[in-house]
Symmetry: C2
Subunit: 243 residues, 2 copies
């Protein structure tokens, strides 16, 4: 079984369409490459109680949880309190983070600047060596900022800790109607129940109208499922197209 993950995107700016969420796409692609199975993405508003509920549920449901957004110094930055609340913890000012912030803002560090050192009790600093500001984690929840460039830089630094066996993928492209092949897909899945099999229609591609994706962490299993699919397609004289 793969490790599972959930992603929680925190921010009114996404729900009101002001900002496009780039972070969940980045994270799902990275996690897929690492062999981790992302099971859910949620986008929730900047509201303390809603953040806590979502984090608690995700933390119970998945091996890893990644949050993005809501970690700055202003009124709408509620992620730290929300995550602390999810675990029944309080917030405390972390001395290492405080001294990092004081060095950065000196001599005019004000209380609001130092607020970014206020993190949930029991939080860990991950990947701290050589990082200006480490990733903060509580239990299985990894906390990232909403600014894509910073999120990506931080994720790059710690991602190897999540790596496991990779997913293997085969794609088959067809010029056909999905209805024509629905029965075949059912039979392939009956024979290979652990296969991850997707069927996606395309209405504007001149070369193909269906993309099938076959995935497994077991290459031999994937090869056998792929062979059965091709055999079944050949039987109804439907040959894959090259793309």
């Amino acid at each position: 079984m793969s490790k599972t993950a959930g992603i929680i995107v925190i921010g009114n700016e996404i729900l009101s369409g002001k900002t496009r969420d780039e972070n969940s796409l980045y994270l799902v692609r990275q996690l897929r490459d690492l062999g981790v199975d992302v099971r859910k993405i949620s986008v929730v508003p900047d509201e303390l109680n809603l953040i806590s509920i979502e984090v608690r549920e995700f933390s119970n449901s998945y091996d890893y949880v990644f949050t993005t957004g809501g970690v700055g110094p202003t009124h709408d930055d509620l992620t730290m309190e929300g995550i602390a609340g999810a675990f029944g913890h309080g917030i405390r000012r972390h001395p290492d983070l405080e001294s990092t912030l004081r060095q950065y803002y000196q001599p005019d560090a004000i209380e609001a600047n130092l607020r970014m050192a206020d993190i949930p009790e029991g939080a860990r600093l991950v990947g701290g060596k050589g990082m200006w500001f480490p990733v903060i984690a509580v239990e299985n929840v990894y906390i990232f900022p909403g600014v894509p460039e910073i999120l990506q830089r931080k994720f790059e630094r710690i991602k190897e800790m999540f790596r496991e066996a990779p997913f293997h993928l085969k794609e088959v492209f067809l010029r056909a109607d999905e209805g024509q092949i629905a029965g075949i897909l059912h039979r392939v899945l009956a024979a290979f129940p652990d296969l991850m099999l997707g069927s996606y229609p395309y209405f504007d591609n001149p070369v193909y109208s269906i993309k099938l994706t076959l995935e497994s962490k077991d290459t031999a299993y994937l090869e056998r499922a792929h062979a059965l699919l091709l055999e079944e397609l050949t039987r109804i004289q439907l040959n894959p197209v090259k793309v």
Copy 2:
């Protein structure tokens, strides 16, 4: 109070990073323009039980629910059964949809093609007049396909039924650090608790480093909140920049 909405994106292809979700961004922008407050977006896999749980929870929580994806004829198209299950309904073949499909595929309509006429009991066909294939709705849940062009065409046809009083927006751009203005934002919100106030840092913009967004459906309230914000900013000699 605004009407609220939730969006459920259904599809393994999004969670595995194979496909970028374009639909939730389109829908949040459209709904915002219509004056509807989107409260949550979820992306869930093609699994019957998970779809049912999410739809039931969203249907209870928001005025409107929009689903995208999972409505084709293949094994991974489970949205109709999932939504039926959410309401304890069965699936039945709708005669009008069946005859539309038979006309389209004739003379070789096969069972798998007709499966797209199988919809939850008690479902309504919305915006049917002049639409080749209407939007299917169950209770407060509106069901859309995953293909963006088709989703958009369908949404355009029915969107006026969701329109209500618009949100009004004012933006203020500053060259400052968020910590500097956190106290001011707190005071503005204390005076105008119904204001929707967002503060967003920018690290790579040459002109400004913070965008503030002020929103309300009440223009007079918005004007007064905006005036107070500018007054408070002037007091610390921080003038908005023109963009």
